[in-house]
Symmetry: C2
Amino acid sequence: MANKFLVASHGKMASGIKSSIHTLANKGDEIKTIDAYVDDSDYTAIIQDFLKSLQADDRAVIFTDLYGGSVNQRVVRQVLDAGKQEQVSVVSNANLAVILSIVMTGNLTKEAIQGLLEESQVCLVELEAKEETTDDFFD
Amino acid sequence: MANKFLVASHGKMASGIKSSIHTLANKGDEIKTIDAYVDDSDYTAIIQDFLKSLQADDRAVIFTDLYGGSVNQRVVRQVLDAGKQEQVSVVSNANLAVILSIVMTGNLTKEAIQGLLEESQVCLVELEAKEETTDDFFD
């Protein structure tokens, strides 16, 4: 039983996020990436190979860059075609916060993932001097 | 009067996002990036130069990777030290959806930005076959 991860984006955001997770947490080797449309190659086979690599008791999360985007559409279609929707979660509009927290957790149930999403939402930072008294909690 | 953008991350997520925006929208040349901690150089000067480059009637958005992370802390500190908090918005836990929509819009008031945030949140995709009848709306 293993947890497996794929990050898929238009352009190089996916490999960039893998680099960021390596920088922050010295992890990332276990994350597969798709940088789609940087050349003419078809990335469908990478999604299919990732899905085929899942053992019956593995859990997986696929992160995509844009909800409604073609990368997300293609990922969803492949998960459904492979009948893996119970085993695989798809998180869209992904950011580094959610990917980092999901990769670091051991629990990939849909309920646990939903909880991590709620803690990782995009936010407008309050720009007031009093905000600046806390220590960094990421290095 | 111009709109200016900076994306700052641990590792190479920032330059990856710039690549993704180029791939999706053929834009991105106007986006400055900081890939922090990929070497020993200090990125504070890049933040300071970005802030100094702002004319009195420019508006700017700085996107950071992790709320509470050291990159975000340093950005906030520099904006406050420069006294630019009215002119600059800081969006944290940034994702491609929010950066793309903010770069594409002309309106960088805090209210407009807040509205774009709400449309760009991280989400768990429903994996049901009926979801798959819509056309791609991003290429």
